[in-house]
Amino acid sequence: MNEPSLVIRKFSDLANPTRFLALVARVWPWMAGMTICLFALGLYLAFATVGDYQQGDTVRIMYVHVPAAWLSMMGYSVMAVSALGTLVWRHPLADVSARAAAPIGACFTFVALVTGSLWGKPMWGTWWVWDARLTSVFVLFLMYLGLIALNRAMDDPTRAAKVGAVLILVGFINIPIIKFSVEWWNTLHQPASVIRLDGPTIDAEFLRPLLVMAAAFTLLFLTLHALAMRNEILRRRIAVLRRHAARAAGRPGGAA
């Protein structure tokens, strides 16, 4: 019993919530500013480039679709790492991180789904097909929502943390399925052309805005995640204070 609590204390010293809050307060304006700058640049590049000879204007959808799709997977990976943090190191901030990431990841997944559908209508002639890539992304969306629902349904955060962490890890098998679905099954969706072992095969003309937009989206995710974690910490602090005050008031010697 003593051994782990010592470890906890060490970890708490490294990144205890109060210190984390101070850190966030210091860096978030910079992160937000950089996000905005990158978005400005990315959007400029996106609309300055000429269209694809095959896809016409719709190639511009790529600049939001692909980063959003990447981030939907990254968001889940962040949650999975946090889940490991909850289960292995029992770090209190890990659960906060997982909880804060869920709605953000769900939103990015939603964006990927919507923009993908909007791209699919002109390209494939249909809003939706049930191929492996699209289905697995939809399942990812459902998993995000399920985790949010579970978090909302469990009021005791310490207990919800462990159950949620296990579920996150179980659901992680979906991420490789999403990533490699285009290779494992023949799908309508195109195969990876940027993130691949033998280097990107996409034209530099499209690669540049895509990468800038991807960087912008990633920064956006990080900023929002940090801010959402701050909110979550405050929420827990409030809960503790309230309960504490209430307990004290309920006791015979209490103030109220």
Binding site: T135, L145, G146, A153
Partner: protein, 219 residues
């Protein structure tokens, strides 16, 4: 009565039993279908309306059995029975809250799922409309069943026998109204009006039956 409505809505949001979860379940069911029947878009668009209706029926039924049981188990039902407010009204309000929390989100989500099932605009519109007209009926029938389940400690069998057969007409008229809307020769209105009539009928009969059963059940 507003207080009851607000409380029930709050409970459904609080415990996660309401909007989000019902819709999620609905989506999950629909997402599972292509795994079973295969990703054939034509086929999917043909069975789409039936799938959406079955999904909605199931999503409505899954939480319905606890409608009064939860109230009974914690003793709230006793207090509600003692009040001056007519019991029928209380039951009606509880049904309404249940429908708002679980039925309405289903209706709102159905166009999206219709897209996933590759249904055309006409079919999607018709499905949404029929769901809007039909899901309250399911809730009202279910309430009567739930009340009877509360009444007889061993009445579980009876409920299932009661509720599902009564819900089948709703399901059938709902699905066939959608089909009438898609295929030209058959007229949409007659089955749809029957659906609306069923809804109104059950909106009266359901709460009355439920109130009766609840009175009988108190012991």
């Amino acid at each position: 009565m507003i207080a009851l409505l607000v409380r029930d809505l709050r409970l459904s949001v609080r415990a996660g039993g309401g909007a989000l979860i019902g819709v999620l379940f609905f989506m999950t069911v629909v997402a599972v279908i292509p795994f079973g029947v295969g990703p054939d878009l034509n086929l999917l668009s043909r069975i789409g309306p039936a799938i959406l209706w079955i999904g909605a029926l199931l999503a409505s039924l899954l939480g319905l059995d606890r409608l009064f049981q939860a109230e009974r188990e914690d003793g709230s039902l006793d207090l509600l029975l003692m009040q001056e407010t007519p019991l029928v009204l209380i039951v009606f309000v509880k049904c309404l809250a249940h429908w708002i929390a679980t039925g309405l989100p289903l209706v709102l989500a159905s166009p999206l799922l219709g897209l996933f099932m590759n249904m055309d605009e006409m079919a999607i519109g018709a499905t949404t409309l029929t769901l809007l007209a039909g899901t309250p009926a399911i809730t009202f029938i279910g309430a009567a069943g739930a009340a009877i389940a509360v009444a007889l400690p061993r009445g579980g069998l009876l409920v299932s026998i009661l509720v599902l057969p009564l819900a089948i007409p709703v399901l059938i008229f709902g699905v066939s109204a959608v089909h009438a809307a898609i295929e030209d020769p058959a007229p949409f209105l007659p089955p749809f009006l029957i659906l609306v009539a069923l809804n109104l009928f059950f909106a009266v009969v359901g709460p009355v039956a439920a109130a009766g059963a609840l009175r009988l059940s108190s012991d």
